[in-house]
Amino acid sequence: MPVPVRIPTPLRRFTGDRAEVSVKAADLSSLLERLFEECPGLRGQLLGEDRKLRSFVNIYVNDEDVRFLDGLKTAVKDGDSVEIVPAIAGGGE
């Protein structure tokens, strides 16, 4: 069973305006690779040159930030939900 990945609005231009893309994978790293095969433009948005998750991007698996789970090694399975969330912040200084 594929795992649905929620795509945030600013990244939908890389998914043909789809809000959700489903891919088959056993962990987050392979899930992202399948996602990048389908939507190549997403790679540079989500991963840095060091192949780590960019600091302005958060990924949640079942409402948990993967940085507090096993990072890109976090396991995913049927029925899980994966959400990509852009960091929204700023300010006068």
């Binding site: 990244l11 809000a19 949640y60 930030d65 912040a89 700023g90 300010g91 006068g92």
Partner: protein, 153 residues
Amino acid sequence: MLPSVVFEPEVLEEIARAAAKAYPYEGCGALLGEARHVRVTLPLPNTEKGTPRVRFEVSPKDYLGVEREADARGVRLLGFWHSHPDHPARPSATDRAFAWEGLLTVIVSVERGRSADIGAWEILGPESPFESVEIASPGAAALVTPLSKEGET
């Protein structure tokens, strides 16, 4: 020159009220609508813990709530606004660092508790500087004084 963005006058008024209410801290909210027409703002809590007078943050939970609300209303997330208390309505280097292509950055200057100025910006690429966007809103000229081609401060 980028295409202007139309704001419903009530939306500008609601942003001005929410920004003034948040003073002396930064306030923030989401902008929903379609095709460069902002029809709704959703005020959001500033979840910045350390320095909320000069920084704002939208929590991931609130971000996801905004997207669900946009889906439910059949509109799109167009961007976010935040306030600069006693500071010009111009984007800072921090604002640029967190900017996302495809989302408007709208900034309200709040001077001594009163919303005084508003401007809108967007980036056209990951390494691009902010470009000023004209705010069009018939009947709300008093609040809208678009800044032309202001760079980062």
